[in-house]
């Protein structure tokens, strides 16, 4: 996808979470955002997810600007898939119902068609045994995988992940990252915010380092990890890769 941002500013009260972010990236299949907490990566992801409107600046995806009216934004959100760090699934619905809900309500599927399709997807990711379970009966890793299935089921243009494994233990982290790697291998376009540097370096085509609301370094992933240009990135990588 071709992603172009120009001078994007997003303020919360008096704090600028995004303080003039500009970017022009094309041919990036997997984009990874890294950086310290509060640096602006989650905010940027939320803007790209259509959940926050920038106060200033413009965002263009594949040549189309991000919509500004709520009606258009709803349509935009339906066209992409978002997975958050936690609490993605609705606790009163089973895994299967969680997946079929957007299909039936937001994409006009017939209930039976949606169920068949959702079951097939869940089976593909080895989750069919859990289809009838409610989220509280699933492990954290299984919940996140169901959330990913839900995001994928709507045939999105691209997928957004906001620290999908931060709330998981190492074993569950692995199972979730496996799926993401699989999706990447399928050729899907992903934008990923993660703390997991190992994974980031493995899957990312292009990397952004955000700190203090600004993009301090960008470039192909290998380049950023092996030869950080800015001091902030060097410090960051030093801290994060220590253990």
């Amino acid at each position: 996808m071709h992603l172009r941002l120009a001078g994007v500013v997003k303020r919360y009260n008096s704090i600028a979470a995004l303080d003039g972010v500009s970017l022009d990236v094309s041919e990036a299949r997997t984009l990874v955002l890294i950086g310290p907490s509060g640096g602006g990566k989650s905010t940027l992801l939320r803007v790209l997810a259509g959940l926050e409107m920038p106060d200033q600046g413009s965002v263009e995806i594949d040549g189309e600007p991000l919509p500004s009216s709520e009606e258009d934004l709803i349509r935009y959100r339906r066209g992409i898939g978002t997975v958050f760090q936690a609490f993605n699934l609705f606790p009163h619905l089973t895994a299967l119902e969680n997946v079929t809900l957007p299909l039936v309500q937001a994409h006009g599927y017939q209930r039976s068609a949606a169920q068949a399709y959702a079951m097939a997807l869940l089976a593909r990711f080895q989750l069919e045994a859990h289809a009838g379970k409610k989220p509280f009966e699933l492990s954290g890793g299984q919940q996140q995988r169901v959330a990913i299935v839900r995001a994928v089921a709507v045939k999105p243009r691209f997928l957004l992940f906001d620290e999908p494994t931060s709330a998981l233990d190492p074993e569950m982290t692995a199972e979730v990252l496996d799926i993401i790697a699989e999706l990447r291998a399928e050729g899907r376009e992903l934008i990923l915010v993660t703390h997991n540097m190992g994974f980031a370096s493995r899957v990312a085509d292009y990397c952004l380092f955000l700190s203090g609301g600004k993009i301090l370094e960008t470039g192909p992933a290998q380049q950023l990890f092996s030869a950080p240009q800015t001091m902030e990135l060097r410090d960051f990588l030093g801290r994060v890769l220590k253990y």
Binding site: F87, L89, A106
Partner: protein, 266 residues
């Protein structure tokens, strides 16, 4: 004390929960009932009271009629109160400000004044001004408005207890506000508010006895009349207690059953 005996009278802790065998449950209930019966029969035996059930038995038709009227009024105002409560809860979240404040004022007024006063004012002042003379309709509506205020607060608390993250999730998958309410918020709210709602319904059934002051021919008024004719106070009021219990107990049991069915932990 052998463990078998211990199990009959005491619940055993297991992990975070409890284990209570069936015979323990039965013995516990019977023992509690016997104790209460003992206390009551002691109290009544101290009363120099000439029991006379025949006088009250003559009037059994009145009791039945009154009970049926109470049942009908309670059922009708229960349903109406849910509708009113829902409207008031939504009104308070409305973007149209006069509607929002109308909702808030309604709730403060109704919850802050006695039901007795509301019944008298609604029937003798408001309904009279509009020329509505049917005391059963006005009484039912008054009860519904009364309970509706409490129910709206219960619903509002239920709605607000749905975490922000869920609303965010719903937004992210592209659900409209209305869809979010319908498929995410309300199904969960309905399950969460079952216990306080059941309590409110039981209160409503008992509060309906207050409609006797505008001569609505309900259960309590009929029992009072029988007492007035026969001077058999205990024999008139004990069936009254049993009759109300017969109405409130099913609600309590149904609520517990539904809570168990819809448990999904949080």
């Amino acid at each position: 004390m052998s463990s078998r005996w211990a199990n009959i009278f005491f619940a055993r802790r297991k992990g975070n929960g409890e284990v209570i065998p069936l015979y323990g449950r039965a013995v516990g209930v019977v023992a509690a009932v016997l104790l209460l019966a003992l206390i009551f029969s002691f109290a009544f035996s101290r009363l120099q009271y000439g029991w006379d059930w025949s006088a009250v038995y003559r009037y059994r038709q009145k009791f039945l009629t009154g009970w049926l009227v109470t049942l009908a009024i309670s059922a009708a105002s229960l349903v109406a109160s849910i509708v009113i409560g829902l409207c008031a809860a939504l009104a308070q979240r409305s973007i149209f400000l006069p509607l929002r404040y109308l909702g808030k004022i309604y709730i403060e007024l109704i919850r802050g004044t006695p039901l007795l006063v509301q019944i008298l004012v609604f029937f003798y002042v408001v309904a009279d001004a509009f020329g509505i003379g049917n005391r059963y309709a006005v009484g039912t509506l008054t009860l519904a408005l009364f309970a509706g205020a409490y129910i709206s607060e219960i619903i509002r608390a239920g709605i607000e207890s749905i975490g922000e993250s869920q609303l965010e999730s719903a937004r992210a998958i592209g659900l409209t506000r209305r869809q979010t309410y319908r498929y995410v918020v309300f199904p969960q709210v309905m399950r969460r508010i079952l216990p306080p709602l059941a309590g409110q319904f039981a209160s409503l059934i008992k509060d309906s006895s207050l409609l006797s002051i505008i001569a609505v021919n309900e259960f309590t008024l009929n029992a009072q009349e029988v007492n007035a004719f026969t001077y058999s106070t205990m024999e008139s009021y004990l069936p009254l207690a049993v009759g109300y219990l017969a109405l409130t107990l099913p609600i309590s049991l149904l609520s517990r059953y539904l809570e168990g069915r819809y448990r999904y932990a949080s």
